[in-house]
């Protein structure tokens, strides 16, 4: 029963994070386009935009934050794997539970602070300091979503490692961490 629940939770999170992660890839070409647009507008038409600077920074922030959960799912976040690669799978799952918990604490604190910042941004009408002065509130919503996804993914990873530690079996056939782990692209 509980196993089933965990299993379906992990599968659901996997698909959600995968979907968001893949979608974020489409911001890359848009980001490049905005910067090229600014260069062309400024150099060839002598009329730099007032929005490209902030818009490109927002896209940069969205890409960086939102892909964080996907990177965790793919085990693409950089780690120092020297000792890690040489311990028994059960020890490794303990290591994972501990380090993912530290990461989870971090992600939860970011969510907590971002919610605060969001309300502040609404209350005081916070904007960027540029002439264009776009709103800031959506950035904090995005951070909550990004770190929410990251937390869901971390919880899923902690559960899978805990299941492996207790039973010695994998709950999801191709779950990473426990034997070979896939990484990146």
């Amino acid at each position: 029963m509980i196993t089933k629940a965990i299993q379906s939770y992990c599968n659901a999170v996997h698909h959600l994070v995968d979907f968001v992660g893949r979608s974020v890839g489409y911001i890359m070409p848009l980001l490049a386009f905005v910067v090229v647009f600014e260069v062309v507008a400024r150099y060839f038409f002598d009329s730099p935009t007032i929005w490209a600077y902030d818009l490109s920074l927002f896209m940069f922030g969205y890409i960086s934050a939102l892909s964080g959960a996907y990177a965790q799912q793919k085990r693409a976040h950089i780690n120092v794997d020297i000792l890690y690669n040489h311990v028994r799978p059960k020890v490794r799952s303990i290591f994972n539970i501990l380090s993912f918990s530290i990461a989870l604490i971090f992600a939860l604190i970011i969510i907590y602070m971002s919610i605060d910042k969001f309300y502040e941004a609404i209350e005081f009408n916070y904007r960027r300091q540029s002439e264009w002065a776009p709103h800031m509130h959506h950035f904090w919503v995005m951070m909550v979503v990004a770190c929410g996804l990251l937390s869901l993914q971390l919880i899923s990873d902690i559960l899978l490692n805990a299941y492996f530690f207790v039973t010695g079996k994998k709950l999801i056939p191709n779950a990473p961490d426990t034997e070979e782990f896939t990484h990146g692209n």
């Binding site: 400024r42 002598d46 007032i50 005081f124 904007r127 300091q129 002439e131 800031m136």
Partner: protein, 306 residues
């Protein structure tokens, strides 16, 4: 009893950095050690655009922010620092702040965000450096000039094209010609950025007469002080303001002399029409800024009455 962190925008060991260090030391001495102040310089835990937020949240207790960086958080600060076309007359500024009521409006504006606004100090004005001489205001037409926020809007009124760039790219961009000119937050900033190596001409009219900058304190930390200690901190900021005034003048002239030694030239003296065009461009901004929030509106209303 009170451990304070005081963040400013300058590097350790710079001339301005020392002034803030003195302020910290004065608070410690005058309070007989009851308030201990740890001064945080540029890069030491808080980014330059994060000072206001950090004081507000209490991450640092006291801060010397540069309001242009917080235009999106506290628009009235941009009016406070001095919109283009503002005066540089110290007496006039003092009346504006202390008699005409700017202090009350600003106390309220900062107070609404949990900040205590202490007496401001004055720093030298913003100037613009260009690669080619500006013989008349018409020469600004089509020039790409790095000028953020209010200064950008002002230059657009004169036909220039304001560009947004990171500070650390100004030098390279001037040298390759991505931009034709840049403002500096004052002459000292132009010198420190080595702009004169890649652009030779300083325009004679400052963008804003003088820059008025506040010291802000986190409200809950402030409320923990006894009235005597509050008076001591206020007194220390008054001493600091005086120091800023005398030292800034000296450092500004030193910076100009150093740049002149490296080949800085001045664009020709602007004509009467140029000065009028400059003023008109500035005045057109006031109404726009009055719209940004209610505190800005109140400040500009007072300003117009003057």
């Amino acid at each position: 009893e009170h451990n304070w962190r005081f963040a400013n925008l300058y590097s350790r060991g710079t001339a301005y950095g020392e002034l803030y260090e003195n302020l910290g030391k004065n608070i410690e001495q005058m309070s007989a050690g009851k308030i201990k102040v740890q001064v945080l310089y540029s890069g030491e835990g808080v980014g330059s655009s994060g000072i206001l937020g950090a004081v507000k949240s209490g991450l640092v207790t006291m801060g010397a922010p540069f309001q242009s960086m917080h235009a999106g958080e506290l628009p009235a600060g941009v009016v406070e620092i001095g919109l283009p076309g503002g005066t540089d007359d110290v007496g006039e500024l003092s009346t504006l702040f202390h008699e005409k009521g700017w202090d009350k409006v600003l106390k309220e504006a900062y107070g609404a965000q949990g900040l205590v606004w202490l007496d401001p100090y004055i720093q030298p004005p913003v100037y613009i450096i260009t690669k080619k001489p500006i013989n008349s205001v018409a020469d600004f037409k089509g020039l790409k000039i790095r000028a953020p926020g209010a200064y950008g809007k002002f230059l657009r009124q004169l036909g220039a094209s304001p560009v947004s760039l990171a500070w650390s790219e100004i030098y390279t961009s001037l040298s390759t010609g991505v931009i034709d000119g840049s403002i500096g937050s004052n002459m000292i900033d132009h010198r420190d950025g080595n702009h004169v190596e890649v652009a030779k001409y300083m325009y004679r009219l400052p963008l804003a007469g003088a820059q008025v900058l506040p010291i802000v304190v986190n409200r809950s930390a402030w409320n923990k002080l006894t009235p005597e200690l509050q008076a001591i901190v206020s007194a220390a900021t008054t001493i600091h303001a005086r120091e800023q005034m005398t030292k800034s003048k000296l450092w500004e002239s030193q910076a100009v002399a150093e740049m002149e030694a490296k080949g800085l030239k001045w664009s020709p003296e602007p004509s009467a029409e140029d000065k009028a065009a400059w003023k008109a461009a500035a005045a057109s901004l006031w109404d726009e800024y009055a719209k940004s929030d209610k505190y800005s509106a109140q400040l500009i209303e007072i300003l117009k009455k003057q």
